[in-house]
Symmetry: D2
Subunit: 356 residues, 4 copies
């Protein structure tokens, strides 16, 4: 039983391989009557695509989206929306040498163990190109959320010991690291440059926030909002840790420190004085800002010689060629936003069925 | 659309409230012919139940399980297995005073925001008693896994700055903290005692491991093994962070440090020299040990006076009475094991459909 | 992957075997705030239970329902509702002789072929007692539908060449055949008596109708309303045919005869002049009455000697003892109503997510 | 919650509108390693397409399939398989006049009632062109079934009082009615000609059979094999009745007539002497041939003047132009086969998880 769909009501299915004819997705369950212009999708795909800067892969792909169904006279019809992007700059030759070798840190071996063989060209289905479908689907989810006053933002928070100290929201899209602290961003870029020159790669942390989320979203006891977010985020390539609110910091806190007191806001609504809980209590949104952090591993594709084995288990040395990202952080930002948008859009619709 | 079921093929549904007549679960999709004795279920429930020691709640519940269906002459039949435990020591009187108040750190407010009202007796559905159904279902999953040579273990790793330094597996069930380091366990117990005396509670970290998992489990791209584990773990009450392998540590690593080289083992199988990846690559198990860590917040129920509001938003002071755990860590251990067992049993069955 | 749940949003799971400790069900996804008294459930179970008359089985079961969760102070909470009925008059001795024999027309052989063995006591899971869970869940669905002005009715339409000629709705629950034509009902009872005396059983046709269904329910292209109804009805034991509106009669009609002209009603709403379409067009309800007919086979349990084989394939003669229904028709009526109610409740909730 | 996917493990999603850029589908859950040539898909699409003969629509569409993902070096990879067909002969002008009118027997009104508006060009999503995705997905399912020795066949059985009296399997694809009786086929063609000349259309019955189905497929109690088949068939446009085995004929039978005695076959396997049950008992396949009949209504699109209303409810007269089928029967044949193949492929995979 395969797992290429996400969401129960607002449901995204992605498909396609890195070096196949195209990658794309279908959104089923998008409500009818939502104004939808292709530009809204393209804008998000442009933020995600490669070749944007020296901190990302040099593969050149325009990633031009085509909408094939589900939209009529500028509005969604309630029928499935299929979108695709043709692959144009696939250079499979780069991958011939790794056809029978298992790249360390990659899915080559586990994929073979699962399916018996794999499409090895450019990572096939396990390529980050798969996230194009997520970003396209997430763009529609964001349109739905925007109508309810919900907005989502993500940014690079940390890389090694470099951590944003200033939060200037306008700065985020101005620097190629998508870091809200211009000074730290510059240091990060320098460090990425160094890593690339030494044929290496770097990990880091991205933070994601959602504002304007109404209280009441999330479905206990298994589809709690943090559980769905956890799944969404851990499904993104390279993610090894997810935390909400105080996250791992709770291990050192006492209840009297961690509990956020409730209070009535000036607008009459109930909220909390502080937000250590990160916007979710008991698996249900509280109306406070949702705050999540993701740990992304250093990209596995590095041009250094590495020890490995071939499909028969014979020892071998491998140098991963191709055009790779020395860090995933800036391109992870739109993907993380998309995944959070998908979770929230789904739960916004699920909540419509919660009361008689 | 509610969310009280977990798993696609091996599917658990839990139901019941803390102070209702009973709590229980149904497992649908358990294969036929699995030997199943009630003792196997009861043993796990006994590890989870309250009143075991001074570090857990003093509520007295025998938690005696009854199997109502799906088992015939000691074997599963392939039909749904329903198990229940009657609630016997429910003292709703303790909760009368919080009927209209929102306890800080609890689901009271968000639950009201979602459903319009709530069963306030003992936390109702958001009580940790709900995890009885998880542990009962997980016990069956473990039987299925055991036949394939898969075992699961969890333990208290850390509480504040106290971290297990020794890993003595036999020690785990010997101390009431379920910590593999006897010396550190004693310090933890002392600290819990202090916290309780000061009417407070403590957070910490539990580690979970699975051994003997064959390579090939997990369903890209959304039902990757780490995504399903992430969801499972974040659905447990009190969890605010989940990490796999190096986890948040990857933020400070370079690719050349993080990639685990592949190697042929003496038994001819392919494995990795180190296990920084935590047993999952590309969303699929590699055959290496699966290693996960969970951050559990300090229990929200503390007997100190706290500021809050009532349902109308009027400021109020609350002291949470009842019989509460000053730390969830030792009782979290069997619940975390159960959730990992459920994920793996489900994916073991899903893998049966992966190849033609 | 097992199949003991029905519905996507309003989701029923049934469990239990004929001679196990209990049979029951869980409804997940029932909206919160729905007034629910146990009497509403019991009333429907009483209509379904055995021993009501000489045309049904003589097994004596009070079928007293207990609600174990999901209801608080007389209203649904939004949490799963579990209901059960303990089995009290199970006489497994009756079945000892068929433990190793395959009863013609029964699921004994196919069940063994699927699961490797079976709970043979009283038919185990394939017993009609399983429908208790359906009727209990359907009773809740009906409460939800009633708030929207939707009502459901079913009745015995035909048995052999005896077909109701008069439709007197009040008559239905007055006679033991649940036939809307008192005169024909009397003839049917006589025929059933004859059949029982000759150790035989009889098939027939039940008609089911839903009134007050708003236009717009149903989810093309696979979850069309008639597709969901078709699945629901074919999942009831004994059903071999389902038709909607004109049904098989369409094979002899021309488009000009079959198309129902649209018209504006006096209340301003759009409807059709005739209702050959049976209330559904393009998979979506039109607002006209939904009309379905079900063909139920003669019960397979007959006391005559029949040829069969044992588990090893050796020829044998079998006489099915036990307390059986010579016709399922009157007891099928509440089950068919329940299944239609479940489909409509689910789609009523699904429709809430159809528009932006 | 939308309904454009079918199947649990072998899962088909279709998308696209009659006059949009393309129609297509994604199959998720097809096992890896299945040999797949585009010709196998194209062959089935050619059987389904329009313009084949004078008994079907004159729209000219080559329906050339493109496979965009999930196949590598001639074999399925286990990743989702997306296939599409571009629309080339869409003449939306034909439909301008029905933009605001509700065609009798069509989904126009109910679609508007559901979604608030509709893509009216050529029927939009409710066009029979949607079945292209079903036939493409079904073609893959058939490849999977063929490896297990399962074959599927369908044919026109009846039109009005014309019913095939001879069953010559080789004849089916030789005549344009796809009727196994050459003489009756000729009479049917004549009758269709007459109907078209009188601007009318005709209903009829298609029979579908599956051979070589192993005993054990089907998932009680809700996903019984007949329930899944019932859903599949009722999801096809124009179907108003479905029956299995004796179907509605059971209403006139006694148990002693209807029960099929079990017997040991010459090959040692257990089977039944007769096949009145149609290959399914208790919701599980018995190994006997599966036999289903479908009643298809006369196509709603007829060129005669018909009474109807516009969107505001004003009375109007409508003549449905465009290029329509005077009977759906011959083109229904490959679609019905595809749907049965999808059900069986799904349950073949589900059965792999039934035993420990």
């Amino acid at each position: 039983m395969a797992g290429n769909s996400f969401g129960q009501i607002f449901r995204l299915t992605t498909w396609g391989e890195s070096h196949g004819p195209a990658v794309g997705c279908t959104v089923d369950g998008c409500p009818s009557g939502l104004p939808l212009e292709p530009e809204a999708i393209q804008r998000e795909l442009d933020r995600r695509r490669v070749g944007q800067s020296k901190v990302s892969s040099q593969r050149q792909e325009p990633d031009q989206v085509q909408i094939l169904s589900g939209v009529f006279e500028g509005r969604t019809t309630g029928s499935p929306i299929t979108m695709l992007v043709f692959n144009t700059d696939a250079k499979s030759g780069h991958y011939e040498n790794i056809k029978d070798l298992y790249r360390p840190g990659h899915a080559d071996y586990s994929w073979d163990a699962k399916y018996g063989f794999r499409d090895w060209r450019g990572g096939g289905r396990s390529s980050a190109r798969e996230t194009i479908g997520r970003v396209a689907g997430g763009a529609i989810a964001r349109l739905l959320l925007a109508r309810e006053g919900i907005s989502i933002i993500a940014y690079t928070l940390q890389m090694g010991d470099l951590c944003a100290e200033v939060f200037d929201e306008d700065e985020i899209e101005r620097n190629i690291m998508r870091c809200p602290d211009a000074r730290v961003a510059a240091l990060m870029v320098e460090r990425v440059d160094q890593a690339r020159r030494s044929l290496d790669s770097l990990g880091g942390i991205v933070e994601v926030r959602a504002r304007g989320v109404p209280p009441g979203l999330g479905e206990p006891v298994f589809d709690k909002l943090q559980a769905e977010i956890g799944k969404a985020m851990f499904s993104i390539p390279a993610i090894k840790g997810v935390e909400i609110g105080e996250g791992f910091g709770v291990a050192g806190l006492r209840g009297s420190e961690h509990n956020d007191p409730f209070v009535r806001r000036e607008d009459g609504r109930i909220g909390t004085v502080s937000n250590r809980h990160g916007g979710i209590l008991g698996g249900i949104s509280t109306g406070e800002e949702i705050v999540i952090r993701l740990a992304a591993k250093p990209p596995a594709s590095i041009a250094q010689a590495q020890q490995t084995v071939d499909r028969e288990g014979n020892a071998a040395t491998i140098e991963v060629r191709g055009r790779h990202d020395p860090t995933v952080l800036p391109r992870l930002v739109p993907v993380a936003e998309a995944m959070l948008a998908l979770v929230l859009a789904d739960h916004l619709l699920r909540q419509r069925t919660a009361r008689a």
